[in-house]
C-alpha cells in the first residue's frame, strides 16, 4: 500500500513537472502578447494569476468542508485536511496578492504611471481571505490545547467561508460608486485560451499534490508526537 502511494505520487509529480515546463514555454515563448491596454507583455502574468486565485478559493472550500466534517465526525483526518488546505491557501493567496499588483501596475491605467494596488473586488476579496486564513492558523496555535485549537479553527473556517461571498458583494457595490478600472473584454483568442487551460491544469495538479503531501506529512508528524508521548511515560 505504502509503496504504491509513493509510486503514484512520484509519477504525478513528474507529470506535473512536465506540465509546468510546457505551460512556461507556452506563456513565455508561444502565446502572443496582449494589446497594450491589457498590459502588453505583463499580461502574461494572467496565466498564473488566475489559476492561483482559483486554487486559493478551492483551498478555502476545502477548509470549510474539512471543518464541518471535523466538528461532525471528530475524526482527526478532517482536521488534517482543513489545516493543510489553509496553509496552502495562504501560499496561493500570497501568490495572487503578489502577481495581481504587478499586473495592475502596467495594465489597468492606460498611461504608464499605473498604481500597484487598485481596490478591485476580486483582489480585495482575496486580501480579506488571506487575513481570514491567517486568523485560522493563529487561533490554532494560540488556543493552547490541540482539540480546542482544532474546534476554534473549524468555527473560523466555517464562518470565514460563508463570509467570502458577502465580502465580494460588498466590495463590488462599494467600488461601483467609484470609477471602475477598465479590464478585459470579450472572449480570449484560441492561443490564449489554450495557454490558460494548460497552466490551469498544471497549477491545479500542483495544488492537489501539495495538499496531499502536506496531509501526509502532518499525519507522520502526529504519529511521531504520539510515539514520543508514549515513550515519555
Amino acid at each position: 500500500m505504502k509503496h504504491q502511494y509513493l509510486h503514484w505520487s512520484t509519477a504525478l509529480v513528474a507529470v506535473d513537472f512536465a506540465l509546468i515546463v510546457f505551460a512556461l514555454y507556452l506563456v513565455f515563448m508561444w502565446v502572443p502578447s496582449a494589446q497594450e491596454e491589457a498590459g502588453g507583455i505583463a499580461q502574461r502574468i494572467f496565466y498564473f494569476h488566475v489559476p492561483s486565485a482559483f486554487a486559493a478559493f478551492l483551498s478555502f472550500f476545502l477548509v470549510f468542508l474539512g471543518s464541518i466534517l471535523y466538528l461532525w465526525k471528530r475524526d482527526w483526518k478532517w482536521d488534517r485536511l482543513a489545516v493543510s488546505a489553509a496553509e496552502i491557501g495562504v501560499v496561493f493567496t500570497s501568490l495572487v496578492l503578489i502577481t495581481g499588483p504587478i499586473w495592475a501596475k502596467t495594465a489597468w491605467l492606460k498611461d504608464k504611471t499605473g498604481i500597484w494596488w487598485e481596490w478591485d473586488p476580486r483582489l480585495t476579496t482575496t486580501l480579506v481571505m488571506f487575513f481570514i486564513y491567517i486568523a485560522y492558523l493563529l487561533i490554532r496555535n494560540y488556543a493552547g490545547e490541540r482539540a480546542q485549537g482544532a474546534r476554534f479553527a473549524a468555527v473560523v473556517g466555517i464562518v470565514g467561508f460563508l463570509d467570502v461571498p458577502i465580502v465580494f458583494m460588498a466590495i463590488r457595490w462599494w467600488r461601483t460608486l467609484h470609477p471602475e478600472p477598465v479590464l478585459e473584454s470579450g472572449g480570449l483568442p484560441p492561443s490564449m485560451l489554450f495557454t490558460l487551460v494548460t497552466s490551469f491544469t498544471a497549477v491545479l495538479l500542483f495544488f492537489i499534490l501539495l495538499t496531499w503531501a502536506r496531509v501526509g506529512l502532518r499525519r507522520a508528524q502526529e504519529d511521531v508526537e504520539e510515539l514520543r508521548e508514549r515513550i515519555g511515560r
Partner: protein, 224 residues
Amino acid sequence: MREFFRQVLNILWKDLISEWHTKDFVTPVLVFALLVIIIFNFAFQPDGESIGLVAPGVLWVAFTFAGVLGLNRSFAREKERGCLDGLMLGPVSREAIYLGKVLGSFMFMFLVELISMPIFSIFLNLPLLMPRLVLVAFLATIGFVAVGTLFAAMAVHTRAREVMLPILFFPIVVPLLIAAVESTSLVMAGASWQSMASWLQMIIAFDIIFLVVSALSFEFVLEQ
C-alpha cells in the same frame, strides 16, 4: 421555546444588573469611542469640505474599535471566577447562553452609540442624530455583536486574548463595515431610501446569517 427565552432573559438580566453595579462596559467603551474621534480629528484636520467624506468612516472605525474592547470585557467577566463553567453546568442550551450574551452586549453597544452620536455631531459640526442613522446603527450593531460574541468566547480561551479578538473579528466584519459606512454617508448626503435599500438589505442578510451560524457553532466554542 418559552423555557429557551426564559433562560435567555435570565442571562440578560444578570448582565444588566452586573453592568448597573460596575458600568465597566459602557463607561470605558464610550470614553474610548470619543477618544478615537478626537484623535482622528487631529490626524485628518478635516475642514468643511472633507468632513462629510471622512465622518462616516471615522464614526464606524470608532464604534468597531470600541466594540472590540467591550466584547472582550463582556467575556472576561464570565471567565474571572470560572463563571462560564457555572453557565455550562446549568440546564441551559448553548444557544440560549449565546443569545443572552448577544442581547446584553447589543444593548450596551447601542447605548454607547446613541450617546456618542450627538457628541460626535457637535465635534464634527454635522447633523448625526437622524432617525435613519439610528436605524443603520441599530441594524449594523446586531451583526457586529453576533460575530463578536462568538469570537470573544473563543478569544477568552486563548493566550493573548486582547489581540486575538480583533484578528478574528475585523476580516469577517469587512462587509458589514463597508455597508454601514456607505449607508451612513448616504444618510448624511440626504439620499433617498431607495438608494440605501441594497445596503440595508446586505446588513440584514449579514445579521441573519451570522446570528444563526454563530448560535449553532457556539457550543463547539464552549465545549472542553
